[in-house]
Amino acid sequence: MAFAHRLFPTPIAVAAELWTLAVSGPLLTDLGKTLLRATSAFAIAMLLGTVLGIVLGRRRWLDRLFSGWLLVGLNLPAIVVAIVLYIWLGLTQLALVTAVVINKVPLVITTVREGVRSFSVDYDELAAALRLSPLRRLRLITLPQLMPFILAAARTGLSLIWKIVLVFEVLGSDGGVGYRVSIQFQFFDITGILAYTTAFILVVLAFEYGLLRPLERKVLQWRPAPA
């Protein structure tokens, strides 16, 4: 371990590097690019995955038809998806976001489908008795029951998407955190890598504590406090 000191930088060194990169380096530009890619892929994947997950959870025959393909989608290596899309759509922003969405959607579908399958028949009966319209049923019955699954998918989803974006940014892009990290890797600049990672994690923490938690508290306030 000849190089240990450089490989395990102190938190202070990382913070200093973070500051330098933010003030006079490309960090904010890179972070912006990556965040744009990650959030748009996140939004699309969550929406699409939730809708398809609900449909597959509800309709047995559709599930029987597609569950095998879902497994294929789940297990397709990122690199295969990236190659195909980069060749189809060129090395563009659209190809990157599409590739990320394709990678993430099966995960959301799987989680949401499991949630829909666990629904209580009781509330379905209630919906039938009240003749709820599809939209009211979604709002009053489906989504509240799905909440824990959607939260799980969202929490794990953002982190996964960011990791996939990193991979794709390395394979073909001209900026972003993944791209920069791969350059830093060539310098074996662990301090820089950790500075970038920290910057992203700060964003995620802000998202978690600034948005997700308050939202969660509001949405889940009905739950009795556990003993």
Binding site: A2, R6, L91, G175, Q186, F187
Partner: protein, 303 residues
């Protein structure tokens, strides 16, 4: 015999030399127990070297210089001069770099790829324009770049030599090699881009083994440069079985990049190239140092 673990990329052209060493028994001849650890890609090599899993890897001199300035004491002995070049389709309207304006170029690697920086410098000198704004560049992995060029997705491609060899066989032509560009930019002698890389510590503790390995390496190089029969056993490794045109192309391009001797004092070409890269690529490419770090080329060996 002393043991030396060399990490080599399984798909790399470096395998041809290693295989020749094995074929001719050059390792045992020099009293060396040569062990090969296959690696998936260059990042794996760097990790393996830092983790101490291998003693020697193949790397470029810019990386070695950066590591040295950062305090990672590694050093190298040249292995290859081969460089990439700018490829265009046979019937391309692009006749000189000036024609690149308004075109789409696929570049293997990233915006701080060394060849891309040199092409930008060359373009700047030829037209006094800025290539990155005049043309639109797309960055991707080498095979992806070749694919985009051959399918017409881009107008030109900047790629590594072994990929260009394949493109040539597929009917593309090399408009300009990186060596040509460097020459115009004032680096007359070709810099040794790739070299056998090891830590100072290994150099000190396993000097005999390193020396034996380098001897074997240079001997193999000599054979590969002159002896056609040595190549026959490499056809499959080159991925050229059943494709004599590709075989010949790869062999000839490889020969053009073989390093024939080594004098640690003669680092002018590398220094000039480094300065050029520092000027045009900036800190993103070379780090904070603008000059080749002293000791980048190992003083303990000469040929």
């Amino acid at each position: 015999a002393e043991t030396l673990v060399v990490g080599v990329q399984e798909s790399g052209t470096v395998q041809w030399e290693i295989q020749t060493i094995k074929n001719l028994g050059l390792d045992t001849k020099h009293g060396l127990d040569l062990q090969i650890r296959p690696l998936a890609d260059s990042r794996a090599g760097q990790i393996a070297l830092q983790a101490g899993a291998v003693d020697v890897i193949l790397s470029d001199f810019v990386w070695v210089s950066i590591q040295r300035s950062e305090g990672n004491m590694v050093t190298m002995v040249p292995h290859s001069l081969a460089v990439g070049g700018l490829m265009v389709p046979a019937d391309s309207p692009i006749a000189s770099v000036a024609d690149l304006a308004g075109k789409t170029i696929a570049v293997s690697g990233s915006p701080v790829d060394k060849s891309w920086i040199i092409l930008q410098a060359f373009y700047n000198q030829a037209t006094s324009g800025t290539l990155s704004t005049d043309a639109s560049a797309r960055f991707g992995a080498p095979p992806l770049v070749n694919e985009l060029l051959t399918t017409g997705g881009v107008d030109a491609a900047l790629n590594f030599w072994q990929w260009n060899a394949r493109a040539k066989v597929a009917g593309m032509t090399e408009l300009l090699s990186v060596a040509d560009m460097l020459e115009t930019l004032g680096v007359a002698e070709q810099p040794p881009l790739l070299g056998w890389t090891f830590s100072d510590q290994i150099a000190a503790t396993k000097t005999a083994a390193i020396t034996a390995f380098l001897d074997a390496s240079f001997e193999a190089k000599a054979v590969l440069r002159t002896d056609d029969t040595a190549w026959d056993k490499l056809t499959e490794l080159m991925g050229a079985s059943g494709d004599p045109a590709l075989f010949t192309q790869l062999r000839d391009d490889y020969r053009a990049g073989i390093v024939s001797g080594y004098d640690p004092a003669d680092t002018a070409a590398a220094e000039a190239t480094f300065a050029l890269l520092a000027q045009y690529g900036g800190a993103e490419l070379v780090g904070d140092q603008t000059e080749l770090a002293p000791g980048t080329f190992w003083e303990g060996y000469r040929k």
